[in-house]
């Protein structure tokens, strides 16, 4: 088990050569890991930070339509 875990960083670093968008998939896996470890409700600060992140998507280029902001 420990040996496999030790190999993980190396394996993960190889992912970009294997699939498209691997770094985004790695970020997604990290997020799922963080979410699964949540043990308490969000504090007001965390809630506000999350809502701000949602609001920020309105100006995120990846979230802009092909036709630009409506």
């Amino acid at each position: 088990m420990g040996a496999i875990l030790a190999l993980l960083p190396g394996i993960l670093s190889l992912l970009p050569t294997i699939v498209t968008g691997a770094e985004k998939i790695i970020a997604l896996i990290g997020s799922i890991r963080a979410a699964s470890q949540q043990s308490g409700e969000w504090t007001p600060e965390l809630e506000a930070a999350f809502l701000n992140a949602l609001l920020a998507t309105k100006t995120d280029p990846a979230y802009q339509s092909d036709h630009g902001p409506a």
């Binding site: 985004k24 799922i32 890991r33 949540q38 308490g40 409700e41 990846a62 339509s65």
Partner: protein, 135 residues
């Protein structure tokens, strides 16, 4: 093979945590769903945005789904808008906060979670298609 590999990574990286005393499991499930939804939509839209022309030509259905996620939606009576991907998450957050102050029932939270998860499942499916190496 690739799916198995990613599942394996997930298995090693993920470990569920015990809830703190007094924490509402439904609220935490809603927050976990919001977190995962945000990351899933970030990944989906980020992959599409990296080469929109390619996806528009070679995977129009994938690009069409991403464009659907990008359409601005009203989020309140004041007329503020957000891209649909964020608006769906925001909607669950509103229902969750209403539930926390007992303005909505747990059924409403379950329904909002299910609605958001259906979009997340579609996005996850598209990630698997878009990142599949055909060689």
């Amino acid at each position: 093979m690739k799916t198995s590999f990613l599942s394996l990574c997930l298995l090693f990286l993920a470990a569920c945590s015990a809830l703190k005393p007094g924490a509402d499991p439904l609220v935490i499930r809603a927050e976990q769903t919001e977190t995962i939804a945000k990351s899933t939509f970030d990944a989906t839209l980020g992959i599409d945005h990296a080469d929109r022309g390619f996806w528009r030509t070679n995977a129009p259905a994938f690009h069409g789904f991403c464009e659907w996620l990008r359409v601005l939606q009203p989020i309140n009576a004041r007329g503020d808008t957000m891209p649909r991907a964020s608006a769906m998450i925001y909607s669950l957050d509103v229902v969750k906060r209403d539930y926390q102050v007992s303005k909505s029932s747990s059924n409403a939270v379950y329904s909002a979670i299910a609605t958001l998860l259906s979009a997340v499942n579609q996005a996850t499916g598209w990630i698997m298609v878009a990142t599949n190496n055909p060689h």
